[in-house]
Symmetry: C2
Subunit: 408 residues, 2 copies
């Protein structure tokens, strides 16, 4: 078959190989072809290899002039839809005001929930679109976006509809997740809220295909493992995958629950014990680390190095959100994973591509391989490691999705 | 006088006020005018204040549509001219190879010196120009650039000529510094090298006005305080200001020497003792902190918070260089100073504007004030704190230098 496009002059064509999550040392096994070319047909990779070995025909040819190409990045964890801002909180926190006082003065996550609930869907789309654009320009061709600032069931549905509307406005692949984020303030209302989530919200979301997974924030100040278990049982009954915000500050059983119920991913993990690291390594669940939070809040980073050394499959996300990670670049998330979580450049790339795709249950994203969607990045330089080395400027020159250049 | 341009619709016009370094609590004293305007005439600020109070005439008017404006940033410490790269070092280091082994295998700073010495001036300009452009786009309207990868005296002159050539190719104000970086490998050659620097290099540099200051790297593995003292004496004799890389890893007398000789700035300071912090606070020397190094190398940050609490005047720079700080954004340097060095947003802005200008001996840069050059930034958002809050995308929408938009 004739290719639609051949891309030549690739100094290094770099990708993980083969489907499925890469565990432990396999996260360092990249395929690097120097002086490479790739061919695109019908929006998919038709062929990729050494430039000298390309013998096909193509309708068009471009030369990237000795720049490196890597797979499009996958951002497996964002809260990109919110209204209001958290600048007052930020200012107060960095000026030394304790979080309890910020919360008491009306700040913190409930201020974001209030502002988000008060916004129309059009307003939310207008606010979130530039954030999606920023993620895309810095390399994300697939972006997970969570609900979770709605709280009221109808507001959560509204957030998922907003995410669906956003998906129609960007060339990036948007993956929606229903996040059950914070419990009602009154303890007496928690059980009824969980019942509503299980009996009303999840069936509705599954019926309308508004999300592919359900995420629960399991934490001392959020949901218990027992509450999450009820929610996950409903999610699985309705054919939705499950994932967790867990072990961020405390160990309250979220991790063990997630592994037992076959979660796609367990996210955060800053408070993991060595035994828990070993348990993740022995499972098929992806460990998603979020270094933006560590930088922004100045908290200890997740044990990325330890997870990989134990044999886990690690993914890296931005956790883009206004309170704990105003990080608009998946490339910078990888750069931070190297500096803060001890990943090598190779591990960071795998964590931001194929493993991140696995954390979303997407076997087709995050690799450059014949038959897969032609999602790839042309970097600014000839050495792909600049993707994680560069700080403060965008190492991504061009973003290609399904064989078309969508940002440059 | 009629203005050339009035800028209206400024949600917040933010600047430090008045000449001279801001010490301690004065670093939090910003002037913030809401619903502001500013007028430019002959490349200088003619007037700035509340929009309703502007009663003059102007040849042109623009509306920034409720965006914040801050002074152009001043990057007081870069090594933006180099050839070669340090990606092998980076890869080795993050894979756990000790620095001694990297040095032994030909890596480290000497690999940059070899590559820089081997490059032509045209090649160096071509390599450095995109770096200057990146600094400019992320807000630097004044950029210090050091020599120091030449080593041989003629190569140091060549680097300063390269910096002069760069200055002619950018709209940013480029401030050249002669850096006496690393000593000869043979101890026996050190005294002769210092003599050559004092008797040949410095007079030549001063005569050709190739630099405004002389910087020495005082460190256990670099120059001693006694050697630096000889070099500084020659610098001062020839009318050049002095500054130091000092207390980065060890305390070998650099800081005390710098304060005693009236250095413009002492840079790095990661290894400062509380007594040294107090000594800086009691001086007129600027304390320049470089958080990119802390992030990139994973080393303890300089005591920014402690310096300000003690009453010092702190400046913030990128330290852009290939080995220890590949940080191409002065805005991100400020964002990191908040997260890693404990500065507030207000202190970071002062540290990246007027105090950084003072670290370069420039009384006219870093403030928005009638009579000063019209160097300012239009930010993406309406709240100026986004300049230091945003991670991973450029918070700067437009860069104006001497009243003209030079990047957007």
């Amino acid at each position: 078959m004739k290719a639609d496009l051949v891309v030549r002059g690739i100094s290094q064509l770099v990708t993980a190989e083969g489907p499925g999550p890469k565990h432990g040392a396999a996260m360092r096994q990249l395929k690097v072809v120097e002086q490479a070319a790739l061919a695109v047909a019908d929006g998919r990779i038709q062929w990729a290899g050494a430039e000298g070995e390309w013998g096909g025909e193509a309708a068009a040819t471009i030369d990237v002039e000795q720049r490196a190409i890597v797979p499009g990045l996958v951002d497996p964890h964002t809260h990109a839809v919110w209204a209001g801002d958290r600048l007052e909180d930020f200012d107060a926190r960095i000026s030394g005001v304790p979080y309890e006082r910020i919360l008491a003065s009306g700040g913190g996550i409930w201020s974001t929930i209030r502002a988000t609930a008060a916004a129309t869907q059009d307003e939310l789309v207008a606010l979130a679109k530039p954030r999606i654009d920023a993620l895309l320009r810095s390399g994300a061709t697939t972006i997970e976006v969570k609900s979770g600032y709605g709280f009221a069931l109808e507001a959560e549905i509204g957030m998922l509809q907003t995410i669906r509307a956003l998906a129609g406005l960007t060339r990036a692949r948007v993956v929606p997740t229903l996040l059950i984020h914070v419990p009602p303030k009154e303890a007496a209302e928690r059980a009824a809220y969980v019942s509503d989530v299980c009996q009303t919200l999840i069936p509705e979301v599954a019926g309308q295909k508004l999300a592919v997974a359900v995420d629960v924030f399991v934490e001392k100040e959020a949901w218990s493992a027992a509450e999450a278990e009820r929610i996950f049982a409903s999610a699985q009954q309705h054919g939705l995958a499950i994932k967790l915000h867990t072990e961020q500050f405390h160990r309250v059983g979220g991790l063990e629950l997630g592994l037992r119920m076959g979660a796609l991913s367990v996210d955060h993990l800053e408070a993991c014990s060595p035994e828990q690291v070993a348990a993740i390594a022995g499972s098929s669940t992806i460990a998603t680390i979020l270094p933006g939070v560590s930088l922004h809040l100045g908290l200890p980073p997740a044990p990325g190095r330890g997870l990989i050394d134990a044999g886990a499959a690690v993914a890296v996300g931005t956790d883009l959100n206004p309170g704990s990670s105003p990080l608009f670049s998946p490339a910078m998330a990888l750069a931070l994973a190297v500096r803060l979580n001890g990943l090598t450049a190779q591990e960071a790339l795998v964590g931001g591509t194929t493993n991140a795709a696995c954390a979303l249950g997407l076997p087709e994203a995050g690799r450059i391989e014949p038959g897969l969607p032609a999602d790839f990045l042309v970097l600014q330089g000839s050495d792909w490691r600049e993707l994680v080395y560069t700080l403060g400027s965008n190492p991504v020159r061009e973003v290609w999705i399904r064989g078309e250049k969508v940002a440059a």
